[in-house]
């Protein structure tokens, strides 16, 4: 009887309303972004700023010139890769808050390979990439094994592992007695030595003054690899099934604990790749003020794209664009760069509470199974 009251599949009335009823749910993230920008404009206005000038500045700062565009792309790369990491875990029903720590673990492993070895680029670059993936995977595996073996919740453990990774990195860099991974030539002792030229990612030249490192290529390839992996492989099926309905997964003969560990390892390796990409393409070293916060923002990037890998390409770019454009916005409109953080927070709130957006734009309610999959309850 339970199924009887359910609304049946809607038939298709003609025209715009039918189109809207059918496809509008896909626009929820876009509408959430727009709504956040509108609310952001109101906030700018209330603080006495000129919102129009601010947004024009934001746009030009992010896309206004080849250089701006290149900066946006570079800035977006780790968000895209890390967003994939978080999304892959989401698909397996796991909330990997530890992308930040895994990213550091990957970056440090890449630095070790990049400073200790002298190899031709054809070997050195792949080794650096592998080192990053292995570092992130190993760090995430800890939380995965704890969850699979003891049921310890991954949210708690990945947060704790974040602290350990960050502090450990700090210590490895700063320690002088003994000298660990710090650069003896760096007087402020705030970074590792630079990696060998042979492990740096080649640049893609765009005109006279701008260049992109090859990391974005890696990100784009990973987007399609992850999409293919999740939807077209048996292992991806196992991951999604364990995440969607662990009981059915057990029934189907899938080992859920094994799948949990595997999902964390794969998620961590992606986060580690993001770290390695930053080391090999942008900074050539890990410093104490390394790109902190990327691992957390990646959660937002994944949520905005509803864990769809192709969507993450765009939400990652949006994230990079907002941060890149913020500086020119500050100059043009004289408002704090923190406004961007506020807008980002609003976007996330509108995504998380998507009922608001659905109500505002008359978008039909979610059907069962369409919920934004985050993770199972704390007991999970």
């Amino acid at each position: 009887m339970a199924v009887e009251g359910r609304t049946p599949e809607p038939a298709q009335p003609a025209g715009f309303r039918a189109f809207w009823a059918r496809y509008s749910p896909l626009f929820v993230p876009i509408l959430a972004v727009m709504t956040a920008l509108v609310v952001g404009a109101v906030i700018i206005g209330m603080t006495g700023g000129d919102w129009l000038a601010a947004y024009i500045g934001l746009w030009q700062g992010a896309f206004g010139s080849p250089r701006a565009l290149a900066n946006t792309v570079i800035r977006s790369t780790p968000y895209i890769i890390c967003g994939l990491a978080v999304a892959l875990a989401f698909k397996a029903g796991l909330f990997n808050i530890g992308a930040e720590g895994q990213l550091y673990a990957g970056a440090m492993c890449a630095v070790v390979i990049g400073t200790m070895l002298q190899l031709p680029p054809i070997l050195h670059i792949p080794m650096g990439i592998v080192a990053g993936a292995v570092g992130g995977a190993a760090w995430a595996a800890i939380a995965g094994i704890l969850k699979a073996r003891t049921g310890a919740h991954e949210v708690i453990n990945t947060i704790m592992l974040n602290y350990i990774a960050l502090r450990l990195t700090d210590w490895l860099i700063r320690s002088r007695q003994p000298l660990l991974l710090g650069d003896p030539l760096d007087t402020s002792s705030s970074r590792t030595p630079f990696i060998a030229e042979s492990m740096r990612l080649p640049n893609i030249r765009l005109g006279e003054t701008t260049a992109l490192h090859a990391g974005i290529l890696m990100a784009v390839i990973l987007v399609f690899v992850v999409a293919w992996f999740l939807n077209r492989t048996t292992i991806g099926f196992e991951l999604r099934t364990s995440g969607t309905n662990p009981n059915a997964a057990k029934y189907a003969g899938i080992s859920v604990p094994k799948t949990i560990v595997l999902a964390m390892v794969l998620s961590g390796s992606l986060a580690g790749l993001a770290g390695a990409g930053e080391v090999m393409g942008v900074r050539y070293a890990v410093s104490t003020d390394f790109i902190s916060g990327v691992g957390f923002d990646a959660i937002a990037v994944a949520l905005l794209a509803r864990s769809n890998p192709i969507g993450i390409l765009f939400s990652g770019l949006l994230w990079g664009a907002l941060l890149t454009g913020a500086r020119l916005m500050q100059v043009r409109a004289g408002i704090s760069i923190d406004v961007i953080r506020i807008i980002q927070a609003l976007i996330i709130m509108f995504i998380a509470a998507d009922q608001i957006v659905r109500w505002l734009y008359r978008i039909p309610q979610r059907k069962p199974g369409e919920e934004v999959l985050i993770s199972k309850g704390w007991g999970g």
């Binding site: 009887m1 339970a2 199924v3 009887e4 009251g5 359910r6 609304t7 049946p8 599949e9 809607p10 038939a11 009335p13 009823a21 077209r232 492989t233 048996t234 292992i235 099926f237 099934t241 969607t244 309905n245 009981n247 059915a248 057990k250 029934y251 189907a252 003969g253 080992s255 059907k367 069962p368 199974g369 369409e370």
Partner: protein, 517 residues
């Protein structure tokens, strides 16, 4: 109780109710009259519009057309609040109780009696006792819901409605979760209620109960009223064909079994449940090729744990399970499945199907990794789609296509799809747990015939069902399970329906035989 019903006042009337959902008319010009002190049974298959109609009467939905009158005055707003106010109560099929709270707390929830800003539990408890005595609904007001059995929880639901002064009670599939004896108790309660002037609408798909308890019967099909009758004029067969719209065979047509070698052997099996209590205790039986062994028993007597252990989803504490000669006591579910064991799970939406997945993915749920559905780790989407298409065609699953989510299918069609999937491979053993729970008569008939067909092909079949009628219809031999033990294994026909019901209720075989005399 049917005599001079025409003199009694009409307490509830629905006139020309029409309710449309996008693409479907759930109720099409439905009219209904409920007289004071009568039981009106509402029969219909899944999707016939029974629940929609009840949800409209209870105010959860608002109708597109038509009017509802309570005691002659129209119901204005559609809200449960208004309906409760006007004396309509509903006992849902899935109880709406908070397990960690007491009976009193659950009953007064949302309707708290306050004294000086504090809950007046004593007064509430007093009223609950009065109601409980007046209508023969024994229940302890201070007991925790979690400690009560299903029958008692249902009584709490009824008390909850009566506490809110309901004169009209809607009972949605109330016997689905009860033992035959508990169902008899409920029938008694229903008689007491009507004798004291309450009016009941009784929704069910169990034809026998309808004939037993109803004063009038209304049959819905495809959102329309297709017949109104009384138990005196109707038979199970006539009601079934009204519901389905064609003649239905209520008895499964099968020949005598020709059993072969034992396929499943279970010896002294012990299994613990989630609370570490011994749920299956020293159980031994075997199922031979070409026979159907039915396990009868009230839900919660260890059948769930037994089936899980047989399928490798729960590990046994002691004992032995052997399938096709191989010891699989501690084998993984995949190993067991690959031996040729199919499993129709008791809770299809929990275990058997992933409602958000398309039929294509659901169609290969347990063998997604095998050729030809995958090569290495790469799935072959074409094969997966063709397979789902094949299942849908062969088992006549009603669906707009194989790429729609399983959630868009009715329960009966979801179940048919699961059965199709489980039957589509080479089988030695079929374990069917509650294979027809909550699905319509037409689908039940179909699934039963398919199960018998598999038996005739030489598959060993274990059917576990809380529906005694289903066990009787399908089984060659019947095992009765009570408190984790198998209390009797008999040939179908050796014991009467009543004797089996007594065994299910914990009466010993010897006593059951004596009582029957």
């Amino acid at each position: 109780m049917t005599q001079n019903g025409e003199d009694r006042p009409v307490v509830l009337e629905a006139r020309g109710i029409t309710k449309r959902f996008p693409g479907v008319v759930a109720n099409d010009n439905v009219s209904l009259k409920l007289l004071q002190g009568e039981v009106l049974a509402l029969l219909g298959e899944n999707g016939a519009g029974k629940s929609t109609l009840m949800n409209i009467l209870y105010g959860l939905y608002s109708q597109d057309e038509g009017e509802i009158f309570v005691n002659g005055t129209p119901l204005r707003v559609s809200s449960p609040h208004e309906s409760i106010e006007r004396g309509i109560g509903m006992v849902h099929q899935h109880f709406q109780l908070v397990p960690v709270m007491t009976v009193t707390e659950n009953v007064i929830l949302g309707n708290e009696v306050m004294r000086r800003g504090l809950l007046d539990r004593r007064q509430a408890g007093q009223r609950i006792r009065e109601i409980s005595q007046q209508y023969g609904l024994p229940v302890e007001p201070e007991a925790l819901i979690a400690d009560l059995d299903v029958g008692a929880q249902q009584r709490v639901e009824i008390i909850k409605a009566l506490y809110r002064n309901a004169d009209i009670l809607i009972l949605d599939e109330p016997t689905a979760v009860l033992t035959p004896q508990e169902a008899d108790d409920l029938v008694r309660v229903m008689r007491t209620l009507t004798a004291q002037g309450k009016s009941l609408i009784f929704i069910t798909h169990k034809l026998r109960e309808v004939l037993e308890v109803a004063d009038r019967i209304m049959v819905l099909r495809g959102g329309r009223v297709v017949g109104e009758t009384t138990p005196a004029e109707a038979s199970e067969a006539s009601l079934a064909s009204l519901m389905v719209g064609r003649t239905v065979l209520l008895q499964v047509d099968k020949e005598a079994a020709r059993p072969g070698a034992a396929v499943l052997e279970v010896r002294n099996l012990q299994v613990r449940d989630d609370r570490q209590l011994m749920a299956v205790n020293d159980v031994s039986f075997e199922v031979q090729a070409g026979e159907i062994l039915g396990i009868a028993g009230v839900q919660g007597n260890g059948q769930t744990e037994l089936v899980q252990a047989l399928n490798g989803l729960r590990s046994a504490v002691a004992g032995l399970i052997r399938i096709a000669g191989q010891d699989v006591t501690l084998a993984s579910s995949r190993t067991i499945s690959e031996l040729g064991v199919a499993h129709i799970p008791e809770d299809r939406q929990r275990d058997g199907i992933i409602v958000s997945y398309p039929l294509t993915d659901n169609g290969v749920l347990e063998y997604y990794y095998r050729e030809p559905f995958a090569r290495g780790i790469v799935r072959n989407e074409q094969e997966v789609t063709d397979h789902a298409q094949d299942l849908v065609t062969r088992f006549d699953v009603r669906t707009p296509g194989v790429h729609v989510a399983a959630s868009s299918l009715s329960g009966g069609n979801q179940q048919k799809f699961i059965v199709a999937r489980e039957f589509s491979r080479t089988l030695k053993l079929l374990i069917a747990a509650q294979p027809t729970r909550g699905i319509d008569v037409g689908s039940i008939e179909f699934i039963h015939n398919q199960i018998v067909h598999k038996r005739d092909e030489g598959v060993a079949v274990l059917v576990v069902s809380a529906e005694l009628d289903e066990i009787l219809a399908l089984s060659d031999r019947i095992a009765v399970m009570y408190h984790g033990r198998i209390v009797a294994i008999v040939n179908n026909g050796d014991l009467s329906r009543e004797q089996l019901g007594l065994l299910m209720a914990g009466v010993s075989l010897k006593e059951a035989m004596v009582l029957q005399q």
